[in-house]
């Protein structure tokens, strides 16, 4: 999925908990998610902390999108 979007010239940051798969298929920008069942959250945290975690993950992904891959 990521590589097809990138072939079209669109930079992609993949947020996933299954890092080896993302690496195997050749994703160029990857951010570690918090778990397969909620890559963009963590149900064990209180709502405010969970949202803070999500903000952090989204900002990391955005940071990756504005960074040259491989750097």
């Amino acid at each position: 999925m990521a590589t097809e979007l990138e072939k079209a010239g669109i930079p992609v940051c993949q947020v996933t908990s299954v890092m080896p798969v993302a690496k195997m298929v050749g994703s160029n920008r990857i951010v570690q998610g918090r778990g397969i069942v909620h890559v963009m959250g963590d149900a064990s945290l209180p709502p405010e902390e969970e949202k803070e975690l999500r903000r952090k993950t989204v900002l990391e992904a955005l940071e990756a999108l504005k960074t040259e891959a491989g750097s």
Partner: protein, 346 residues
């Protein structure tokens, strides 16, 4: 045998890159590789029509070109259809693959083409048609045409084509039952032994290869960029309007979030049978983080959150299928002017 040939402007002898925009030209005889093919196949083989088209025109008007070629092949009462060989020419390869697949599909006459394994046409069409491995150099023309001819004739006579490495075509990903002398355990041990002692061995199930794609340039200014969220975690509106399958999905959906600043569990469900979906169903932002991206849009950290998110189910999806879904989503994102994507994967 009556043969119809498809060639690009270069191999059709009508010009190089400056002629890449040319519309299809039809001739009632063999041209270039077609003449050589007549020699290769000998008496009784006649190229009755040659369709020559510019690479750019073909890439940009593939549907029109396909209709035209189907019409010509039908009118010519062709027994065989050949396209290329294309070697490493990418636009040519994609066109030849698409045309062969369409002729095979709609008219049911034998088709073959030839390409270098790196040609993008291989990635797209190797599972549907026989593509001869032509190598990268046009010097391999005669060899490629010979292999194309043999395969096409076998197809015409409904004979076994044989294994890819024997007949010289690119593996189509087909597994066939056969008899062996040794059990799988014996073969496995023999393979392991060969591997540890440095002897040559051949896997019976080659692992899929992933050709690295160079990373697109980073986003210059996020505050002026349109960001879209794509997920393979299967989030869909309640009722799953596009009927996205819970595994091996063959389609995707784009769902409106233009007026939403926080996704609510009661409006969504998850079409994915590969993980415990309760957490995402409780709060879909855990997969599709609209709440945060909306805030960042208001703070002008990002320019704009695209008004739809894209979703499919990535579970046990055959690679070729995922690629097609990816290409279709990419096309839609391009049309919407999206600059960058956050892809959430479960």
């Amino acid at each position: 045998m009556r043969i119809v040939f498809y060639l690009n402007q270069f191999f059709g002898g009508l010009g190089s890159e400056e002629a890449a925009g040319m519309t299809p030209v039809v001739k009632d005889s063999a041209v270039g590789p077609g003449r050589l093919m007549e020699q290769v196949m000998g008496d009784g083989a006649q190229v009755v029509r040659t369709i020559i088209c510019g690479d750019n025109y073909a890439a940009e008007n593939l549907e029109e070109l396909t209709d035209r070629v189907l019409r010509e092949v039908k009118e010519a009462e062709a027994d065989l259809f050949f396209a290329g060989p294309c070697f490493e020419a990418g636009r040519y390869g994609v066109a030849c693959g698409a045309l062969c697949a369409a002729v095979d599909d709609s008219l049911g006459i034998p088709v073959t083409t030839g390409m270098a394994v790196e040609n993008p046409g291989v990635d797209l069409y190797h599972q549907s048609i026989h593509i001869v491995d032509s190598g990268a150099q046009a010097a391999g023309m005669r060899d490629a045409l010979e292999k194309m001819a043999v395969i096409a004739l076998k197809l015409a006579h409904q004979e076994e084509i044989g294994l890819p490495e024997e007949a010289g075509y690119i593996p189509m990903g087909i597994l066939k039952d056969g008899f062996t002398e040794q059990t799988s355990a014996q073969r496995l041990v023999a393979m392991l032994h060969a591997k540890t002692t440095g002897e040559p061995y051949k896997s019976e199930l080659p692992a899929p290869t992933f050709v690295p794609v160079p990373a697109p340039a980073p986003v210059a200014d996020l505050s002026k960029s349109k960001i879209a969220i794509v997920t393979d975690g299967g989030l869909v509106p309640k009722g799953n309007p596009d009927k996205i399958a819970h595994f091996a999905a063959t389609n995707w959906g784009a769902y409106d979030i233009a007026s939403s600043d926080d996704l609510k569990g009661e409006a969504y469900e998850v079409a994915h049978r590969g993980y415990d979906t309760r957490y995402v169903e409780d709060d879909p932002d855990r997969l599709v983080p609209v709440d945060i991206l909306r805030e960042l849009e208001e703070q002008n950290v990002v320019g704009e959150l695209h008004g739809q998110f894209y979703s499919t189910s990535g579970l046990v999806n055959p690679l070729a299928n995922s690629r097609r879904l990816g290409r279709e989503i990419a096309q839609s994102l391009k049309e919407a002017g999206v600059d960058a994507v956050i892809l959430t994967s479960t």
